[in-house]
Structure formats: structure tokens, C-alpha cells
Point group: C2
Chain length 87, copies 2
């Protein structure tokens, strides 16, 4: 299924969350990712995110759509492709 | 249509972008919003965002779906409803 994932975690946990999300999804903005995942991959991602997160402080939201074609994406401003120096 | 909006802008422009997005959408995470907007409202939002943004530096992404029921949302961790002290 098509996934949009956004996290908001404390700075000290950001590198781990970034690395985790990039292992499963495409990085499209600061803390925003998208991609196609199976049900099993979604469960893995959530399980691993919970291991990193402090759930009383951090937040991680997954939007799930059965079909990519239901979502149009509009980008205003800079693409993350221009900022690969952060990798 | 159902909209998910995420921005990544320089700190000095964050208050204006937050205020703008909250005028059109529900605030669900640090820089993440969702809601139902008409085509006209989407155009207004994009127009006003461009007035605030430095498009060579900032980024604003809109995901658009014809129908809310195509998207499931899963929240792990803290809901923004618990953090109204930032308002």
C-alpha cells in the first residue's frame, strides 16, 4: 500500500528515526517520507519505530492508502533532491 | 478533497506558515496538517503560502485525495491534542 510517514521526535532520536524511515521509504521532506510497503513491512516499521521512540514525547503518523493513484502530490518550493548534502 | 499538508520553512517564517495552515486545516503534528478543502481553498492556500515562503529555501507539500476513506491514519506516540500549550 502507499504510505506517507511523518515523525516529530526529540533531536537526539532524529538520526535513528531518519535512518529507519529511509530504510523503508523515500525521503521527500525534512521529516516526511513516502513509498509502497506491504502490510508486513508497515508492521516492521512501526515495531522498530516504537523501539526508538519515547511515546510519551515523540509522535509518528502513518497515512495509508490502498492505491497510489488516489493521491496527487503538489510540491511548492524546494525539493529534497537539491539537499543531498544532509545525507 | 482530503488534504495532507507538510511544510519545512526557515524558523523566522514558521509562525506565519503555522497560522496560515491552521486557518485552512487541522493541525496534527509539528508541521503536519489535514482536512477537507475545496479546489478553490487549495488554490488560496497555495497562493498565500507562496507569499510567505522563500521558494529557493522552503518546501511545502500537499497530498490530495478525492475521498477521505481511501486513507487510514495510524498515530504512534503523542497526539498534538496533548500539546495545546504551544498555541
Amino acid at each position: 500500500m502507499y504510505i506517507i510517514a511523518v515523525y516529530d521526535v526529540a533531536a537526539e532520536r532524529t538520526p535513528k528515526m531518519l535512518k529507519l524511515c529511509r530504510a523503508y521509504l523515500h525521503w521527500i521532506q525534512n521529516s516526511v517520507f513516502e513509498g509502497e510497503l506491504s502490510e508486513v513491512q508497515v508492521k516492521e516499521l512501526v515495531y522498530k519505530a516504537k523501539e526508538i521512540m519515547d511515546e510519551s514525547y515523540d509522535s509518528f503518523i502513518l497515512f495509508k492508502s490502498r492505491h497510489t493513484y488516489h493521491m496527487d502530490k503538489q510540491l511548492i518550493g524546494k525539493s529534497l533532491n537539491d539537499t543531498d548534502q544532509f545525507l
